[in-house]
């Protein structure tokens, strides 16, 4: 028996792992999902043997963020590993196809799996962010600070984990979070350049708006509001 290819449009079912079953007391409130667990080991690196040699293999759409947000944490955890096995299988197939100099059947499956996994990761990060904000009020997982670097730029400096305090850290103390006075003119030049770019952008938008106003006076918003 091979596990069903679990794409979002196909049926979705799981069995809880029989050994090392975690004690979940609130199980009666969740919808229990069932499937067969394939125990064939290395055969999970390959597709269903019926699909070997086919030119196309049908597959459903990728998981979207909204669909994944409706799933519980346990479901997402299990889905991650299902997608991981599917991705390993597709990578194996891709490599073998390159080796045999033959086209891989339906390479879009790999893209869909990668997209699903990225969406899952995004949903999990959102949940983690929410929990962290509620529990501690920290917006970012990794601490940091706005500092001026040696070039005079204001950057978001991300902190690293060290076993020693900063004043004993030779490598950290060699970094300079200040700019010498001779850097001021270069900072000024950089700011002037940015200002010129912004002004050019704004004047271009104004010019386009003026051109459209001249060409289509009847479509202007000022006229609409005056009519109302």
């Amino acid at each position: 028996m091979f596990p069903k290819r679990l794409f979002s449009n196909a049926g979705f079912s799981f069995n809880l792992v029989p050994k090392n079953k975690p004690s979940v007391t609130s199980l009666h409130q969740c919808r229990v999902l069932h499937t067969t667990l394939s125990r064939k080991g290395l055969e999970e690196f390959f597709d269903d043997p019926k699909n070997w040699g086919e030119e196309k293999v049908k597959s459903g759409a990728a998981w979207t963020c909204q669909q994944l947000r409706n799933k519980s944490n346990e479901d997402l955890h299990k889905l991650w590993y299902v997608l991981l096995k599917e991705r390993n299988m597709l990578l194996t197939l891709e490599q073998e196809a390159k080796r045999q100099i033959l086209p891989m059947p339906s390479p879009e499956r790999l893209e869909k799996v990668i997209e699903s996994m990225d969406a899952l990761d995004k949903v999990v990060q959102e949940r983690e962010d929410a929990i962290r904000l509620l529990q501690t009020g920290q917006e970012k997982a990794r601490p940091g600070a706005w500092r001026k670097d040696i070039f005079g730029r204001i950057i978001w400096h991300k902190f690293k984990q060290w076993p020693i305090p900063w004043y004993l850290n030779k490598r950290y103390n060699r970094k300079r979070f200040f700019a010498m006075p001779y850097v001021e003119r270069f900072d000024r030049l950089r700011r002037e350049k940015q200002a010129r770019i912004q002004t050019r952008k704004k004047s271009l938008e104004k010019k386009k708006a003026k051109y459209l106003q001249e060409k289509f006076p009847h479509l202007s918003e000022a006229q609409k509001s005056s009519l109302v």
Partner: protein, 165 residues
């Protein structure tokens, strides 16, 4: 860190992180990674390997211990031994601008299965005999008609058309 109170399934290994793993100091709890970032692919061996050996391409950050845990916990494959090496991807080829093109480096792992199990890499692209399916039969009939129209004059005895007379 990540839902440790909700999903206490044991970690199968680490993951690839841009910043590196969190710092460990004596007395810290065991680092648990809940969703591995490691993706491996099985490859057909280039040279003949013993029957119990399976060859994988694994990410550079993965160790043989990681791979053993990965296979044992995610795929329930009993592993006796793992050996790894890093394959250098060639940097010798040059493109039209004479700029060197690097093929990525990768790590190869040779896994020996336990309990006397053997494994041979299967043929994933067997030739299949196709009976004319309902969708393609019309196209195939058209192709056959075209071939009949373009067939050469049998009286020429296999001589091509571009010969005079």
């Amino acid at each position: 860190m990540e839902f440790s109170h909700i999903a206490p399934l044991p970690s199968a290994g680490g993951c690839r992180l841009d910043i590196g793993y969190p710092l460990y100091q004596l007395g810290n709890p065991q680092l648990r990674v809940f969703r591995t970032n490691f993706f491996i692919q099985m490859v057909r061996p280039g040279t003949v390997q013993p029957e119990d050996t399976v060859q994988f391409r694994i990410p550079m950050e993965m160790t043989r211990v990681d791979l053993r845990n990965y296979l044992e916990r995610i795929y329930s494959v009993p592993v006796a031994a793992v050996r790894t090496r890093v394959q250098h991807g060639s940097n010798r080829k040059r493109d039209h601008r004479n700029v060197r093109v690097k093929k990525p480096d990768y790590k190869v792992a040779y896994v020996q299965l336990a309990h006397g199990q053997t494994f041979t890499f299967p043929d994933l692209f067997p030739e299949k005999k196709r009976s004319p399916s309902g969708e393609d039969s019309v196209q195939e009939e058209l192709l056959e008609e075209q071939r009949k129209r373009q067939s050469r004059d049998p009286r020429r005895g296999g001589v091509p058309e571009w010969f005079g007379l």
